[in-house]
Amino acid sequence: MNINLLPFVFALFGLGLFCLLTRRSLVKLLIGLELLGKATTLAIIWAGVVQKTPATTQSIALLVISIEAVVVAVYLALVYAFHRHNQSLDTDDMRRLKG
């Protein structure tokens, strides 16, 4: 494996960040979040390849994936509750924390 995955990781992370900062739909935010997560998982795996400890990093990656599944579940539940409450998925409708 001679390809360097790091630029790809950064591109994925940047894409996720861009998605998070610019999209207004809560579902799109979830997608951005997932992109961030995937970039992170990829970075961990790539770190294992570089450090020659693939077994450890792969097990950590598995753990991260499973935690992400939980995060997604909770996030979706929150979005569902928000939608039920406001009939909307737009982040412009959630400005109640404005100072």
Binding site: L20, L21, G99
Partner: protein, 607 residues
């Protein structure tokens, strides 16, 4: 017993009594008055040892603060006169109090304070340094304040106590300043060291110290312009008026002036100032006494006036004459106050217009009061005659004609008010409503003792002047016979006789005078009923000072402190407004902050 030990016991015994009385009061309150009399008796017996043994050898000195301050006893005639007066008159007043204060509340407080006062006065007189003198001076001040306000439930008495305390405090500040000036100069508080070192001081500084002493003496001895507290102090029980405000404490200022007279002699203007203060006070006191209708106020103003004479004598450089008059005055004024107490005790009012004809009910009191009044106006062969003529003589010798004129007018007025008061109270038409109480025997005995002393005390001039000369103080060598010869052959005798005659004439014409004043009512007459406006002036001044204090407080609290508060509030509000801008509530902004923070943290960690 050596004189030194006697001197030490003389003020330690009353102090011990003052400590013990509150304890005794817990389990035997009825024994308290008798215990106090016992302590008074003990110290007045010990006082005789001081008379006999002229102080010789090393005096007692104690290291109060080792290496810094030592205090000792000074037993010369100048200090013994006030100490012995305080002890003996204090003892008589304690006996008199048995009858006068019977049935009052808080007797333990009363007797403890009286004993504390006697100890303070003796300690003040016998101190050989300024610091101890100042300490006991303040002890007296506190006792005076407490005893004036003894009937503290009466707001007038409480106010009078506070007034006396504050007014004398003005003088005390002067005294303290003078003591500090001298102590800084010489590094010692002792009298002798300071008098020696004072010549090395610059004249303005020395003048400041002299002025401080004069101010202190004026406060304590109720001299013009600080005399206003003494008439109000008559709210005290009459026993206290007799002891503190006639016989003892008010003499402390005269004693102080006599004590620092070597120092005053170094400052040219200070003696002139003392003369004029004394003369003005003598006249002012006599004038106010002549127009007063309150028996105790008359006596208080009379005391102010007589103290003026003593201060005048000190101003003439005649400390001996002033102490001689002090001695006479303590006796006859103590007598007059105790008589007044008997009258007030009997009738229950202090207004002489509601008295009259009391001779029938209390002849002993009437006769002794008459003797006291005659001694006050200076009838020949009574003690007041010799001592007052002595002072007038010294004034003539010194050639101070201005003060002499004032003193003579005061003398005429003294004769007038002494006669008027005696006549209106004890002879004249009865005006009282109640049936007078009988005077108890334990109140009459001190009166008789003091009346006798009015006739005899001037005979002591011989031993007194001998003792003065023996201890190196300036005094003329006089025996009693010599005193008679000198007095009757002097110009002062004619002057004082003329003053008495004028006073007697005024007394005879009092009905016409009263009609004139009633019909014409000149402005200054109305002013005398308000103490010639001094109280109003001081009230105005005090109000201005208070207003200034209020303004300072307002400025500090409302402007400075409140300003700091406002600035803090305004600043934090502004900051929070600014930081509110950051909180858009928009998720994306929050995410941006999170990202930026992470970048910063990462940057720091990598760097």
């Amino acid at each position: 017993m050596t004189a030194q030990l006697a001197g030490l016991l003389l003020f330690l015994i009353p102090f011990a009594g003052a400590l013990l009385i509150p304890l005794v009061n817990f389990f035997a309150p009825r024994a308290v008055p008798w215990l106090a009399v016992l302590f008074g008796l003990a110290s007045s017996v010990i006082a005789f040892f001081l008379l006999g043994g002229t102080p010789a050898g090393a005096p007692i000195t104690l290291d109060i603060l080792p290496g810094f301050f030592r205090s000792g006893l000074l037993l010369d005639p100048l200090s013994l006169v006030p100490a012995l007066i305080a002890t003996w008159i204090g003892f008589l007043v304690l006996i008199y109090s048995l009858g006068y204060m019977k049935g009052e509340e808080n007797l333990a407080r009363y007797y403890a304070l009286v004993l504390l006062f006697i100890g303070g006065m003796v300690g003040m007189a016998l101190a050989d340094n300024f610091l101890a003198l100042f300490f006991f001076w303040e002890v007296m001040g506190v006792c005076s304040y407490q005893l004036i306000a003894f009937f503290y439930k009466d707001p007038k008495a409480a106010a009078a106590g506070a007034k006396a305390f504050l007014t004398t405090k003005i003088g005390d500040i002067g005294l303290l300043a003078a003591i500090i000036i001298l102590a800084v100069n010489s590094g010692s508080f002792s009298f002798s060291v300071n008098f020696g070192a004072a010549a090395g001081l610059a004249l303005p500084v020395l003048g400041l110290a002299a002025f401080g002493f004069i101010l202190g003496a004026a406060g304590k001895s109720a001299q013009f312009p600080l005399h206003v507290w003494l008439p109000d102090a008559m709210e005290a029980p009459t026993t206290i008026s007799a002891l503190i405000h006639a016989a003892t404490m008010v003499n402390a200022g005269v004693y102080l002036l006599a004590r620092v007279s070597p120092l005053l002699a170094l400052v040219p203007w200070s003696l002139t100032l003392v003369q004029w203060i004394g003369a003005i006070t003598a006249l002012l006191g006599a004038l106010l006494a002549a127009f007063s209708n309150d028996l105790k106020r008359i006596l208080a103003y009379s005391t102010v006036s007589q103290l003026g004479y003593m201060v005048l004598a000190v101003g003439m450089g005649a400390a001996f004459a002033s102490q001689f008059h002090l001695f006479s005055h303590a006796i006859f004024k103590g007598l007059l106050f105790l008589c007044a107490g008997a009258v007030i005790h009997a009738i229950g009012t202090r207004d002489i217009r509601q008295m009259g004809g009391l001779y029938k009910h209390m002849p002993a009191v009437a006769i002794t009061f008459l003797i006291g009044a005659m001694a006050l106006l200076g009838l020949p062969f009574l003690n007041g005659f010799f001592s007052k003529d002595f002072i007038l003589e010294e004034i003539i010798l010194g050639g101070a004609w201005g003060p002499l004129a004032l003193a003579l007018i005061a003398g005429a007025l003294t004769a007038f008010y002494a006669l008027r008061t005696t006549f209106v109270v004890f002879w004249g038409k009865p005006n009282y409503q109640t049936h007078p109480h009988k005077t108890p025997a334990n109140m009459v005995v001190p009166l008789l003792a003091l009346a006798l002393a009015c006739f005899l005390s001037w005979l002591l001039v011989g031993p007194l002047s001998e003792a003065w000369i023996a201890s190196g103080l300036p005094a003329p060598a006089l025996s009693a016979l010599e005193l008679i010869r000198v007095t009757f052959s002097s110009l002062a005798f004619l002057f004082s006789l003329a003053a008495i005659v004028v006073g007697f004439f005024l007394f005879l014409q009092r009905a016409r005078l009263a009609r004139y004043f009633h019909e014409q009512e000149p402005g200054w007459i109305r002013a005398t009923s308000r103490g010639l406006g001094f109280d109003d002036l001081y009230t105005w001044l005090a109000d201005r000072i208070r207003d200034f204090g209020v303004w300072v407080r307002m400025f500090w609290e409302e402007r400075v402190m409140e300003g700091i508060n406002r600035f803090a509030a305004w600043g934090s509000l502004g900051l929070s407004r600014l930081s509110c801008r950051l909180q858009t509530g928009d998720v994306h902004w929050n995410l941006l902050y999170v990202t930026l923070t992470l970048i910063v943290v990462l940057g720091v960690a990598l760097w």
